[in-house]
């Protein structure tokens, strides 16, 4: 019995726990999600200051000033950024002032330097009339003390970290990056440059999944390879369950597979594993269950299937655990420039395609060819997945929901 993608994903998402938050230094918090609202403890900027280099003046003193009839003001001081204002600006006076410097008492406007001429003997000629408030940033112009600046649930981007730094925060309460163990199983697997003996292949799923995890903001933990033996598999899984927030295995979940992984997972989970057949191609088989509080994803063993299954199930679940609201890749209705033919088989097909923004403002996609579930090289050329519904496929120029993996 095959179940629809959305139903399988709902089952997974409903079972995954939200990770407990903890404080993280700003330098490590990029991409993490805040676990509480952040309130401004002080105003930014903390004092009125100048947005330009020029002269702090009383606006009234510039009334009627023109290049032909400039206002002449006595320069009573100079203020650089970082200096505390000392002398007030009285009538007929000005203070030379640099961008970011605090506005001295008495002044209510800044004249940019381009509208002034020095006039020897400690005076400046102002060649234009300026209104009160000219080029002044009031205190609290960006953030006011007490203002909520980031709601709980904010995914921290570089500018958010800047905002936190501008408020004096050196750490922030976020949900941690999920630590996710990756285990390969199978007697046929070798790795590295080792010579292949008859029947052996090299393990490509583990490096691919570890890279997908990094790309998804998780910390991948390499649990190695287990032989097709219950003891080996159980030992590696136990290690993963001990130190990780989630564990991903690949292989050993298809109908009729030798059932070492199945037997171990069923025993460790006390029968709580789901062995699903999802109505998608590739990546029909999926094992999922929560073992002692830790989600375990049993992805299919074919390289392309394991990637697609990661995208469909593990990635959104791990993002949910880390507190993200946007669980899925951005989705666009894309134009299939070459068409995406298929045959009805009761499944949603996730075709690997290249997507590119066109001059018409739409994304246009083309199949990468090689849609076999083992053809990893073709998949490597794809930057998107087209969701081709059951039926005859998408005609040339037709549109189709498309997930952008990277653009």
């Amino acid at each position: 019995m095959m179940i629809p993608l959305e139903e399988a994903r709902r089952l997974v998402l409903d079972a995954c726990p939200l990770l407990e938050p903890g404080p993280v230094p700003l330098s490590e918090a990029l991409g993490c999600v805040t676990a509480e609202a952040v309130v401004a403890t002080e105003a930014v900027p903390p004092f009125a200051n100048t947005a330009m280099d020029g002269y702090a003046v009383r606006a009234a003193d510039t009334a009627g000033a023109t290049p032909e009839a400039p206002a002449r003001l006595a320069v009573v001081g100079t203020l650089a950024a970082g200096q505390a204002p000392l002398e007030p600006v009285g009538p007929g006076q000005a203070v030379r002032i640099m961008t970011g410097a605090p506005l001295p008492e008495g002044a209510d406007a800044v004249v940019m330097v381009e509208l002034t001429r020095e006039d020897g003997a400690g005076a400046v000629l102002v060649t234009a009339e300026v209104p009160p408030g000219n080029h002044i940033r009031p205190a609290g112009d960006d953030l006011q003390a007490g203002q909520e600046v980031l709601p709980a649930g904010t995914e921290l981007r570089p500018a958010h970290l800047g905002v936190l730094a501008s408020l004096g925060y050196s750490q922030v309460l976020v949900r941690p990056r999920p630590r996710v163990g990756v285990l390969s199983t199978g007697d046929e697997l070798v790795e590295g440059g080792e010579k292949l003996r008859p029947g052996q292949i090299r393990d490509s799923n583990r490096p691919t999944l570890l890279a997908l995890l990094r790309d998804s903001g998780c910390d991948g933990v390499d649990l190695g390879r287990a032989k097709d033996a219950e003891g080996d598999i159980e030992e590696a899984l136990e290690r993963g369950l001990d130190i990780c927030d989630a564990v991903i295995t690949s292989g050993g979940v298809s109908v009729g597979d030798y059932d070492y992984t199945k037997a171990v997972l069923d025993r460790l989970s006390e029968g709580a594993m789901h062995w699903l057949q999802v109505a998608i191609k590739p990546a029909k088989p999926l094992a999922f269950g929560v073992v002692r509080g830790t989600p375990v994803f049993g992805l299919p063993g074919n390289p392309v299937s394991s990637m697609v299954s990661f995208e469909c199930f593990a990635r959104p679940a791990l993002r949910a655990m880390a507190g993200h609201h946007h669980l899925h890749r951005p989705e666009v209705m894309a134009v299939a420039d070459d068409g995406l033919p298929r045959r009805p088989d009761g499944k949603l097909h996730l075709d690997r395609v290249t997507a590119e923004a066109g001059a018409d403002g739409r994304f246009h996609i083309r199949s990468v060819g090689g849609q076999g579930s083992h053809q990893l090289l073709a998949t490597a050329r794809a930057n998107a997945l087209a969701l081709v519904p059951d039926g005859p496929g998408i005609p040339r120029g037709g549109t189709v929901r498309t997930l952008l993996l990277h653009v």
Copy 2:
């Protein structure tokens, strides 16, 4: 004299050197760019194998088989993945075979287990006729020995790393992630939770720029803060030039600024720094030069200006140094749902906007408000930059070139 964005960027890109390649372990290579073509040293898969669990047979033996009149074959062995095939399959014989296992000699097809019934006494009933090659992946089906699998200049995505692992590579020759020093200058800057004295503000540019670097695949190096004193600035810059592939400073590049940074950079570069006024808003001032072979970017001090300047100049230049072909953020023609009004001023405006894919297949954008060059919180809400050309702006429903920063 203001120069157009493209001209300033060309000047920067033409001056930045390509980094020297070196070998990197696969586990560290995600996002790096290959510096030479990668050739398959062996076929993948290395041997013909089965795509399904079932029975390896001679196709001719299944001729005419139906559920009512199955073909009866003697089961002469079992092959799991990873096992070397021993017994050949003779006429009237079959071998039980698991996904990924090598095809035994003599067999030319696989019957999936669902189309068979066991028949006691070491025999199987095949209930359908299958053609030669059924469910068989030939050797080299994914990659053939000698085939170029990745051209030089490939940005390594997770599937590429899987392909390399499947070929036995444990490292790959790539251009390194640029190491980029970030220096803040200014007497007004403090950091962390230190109490502010009059005239002081907290440094937000350094944490923001370090996060932007991480987000852009670079290794950021925190060069700290320098006081407004030539000795301090020179010492920090020298340190950055010694250990980094590029150095970014912020502040001290505007017309009329106190010229400590300028004086030091002009001296260190032997007069080769460019002090540019770019026809964009925000981020008009830009200093750029190559000092002893190392690019130095002097970004404006306002928080939003420094981010926009990073996007316009530093990010594409650093990507070019790392060998990327796609230097820029993905660009779409987006629909301005609310319009983006502006006044003519001879500049291209880079408005901070939120972009979202609509049901019509296009991206729709809205201004985040607060377009002041110091208003970092508003900028933090943006996920795109709209390139609003000089003139009256974009009317509601009009389209505008838009760079997607993250979607």
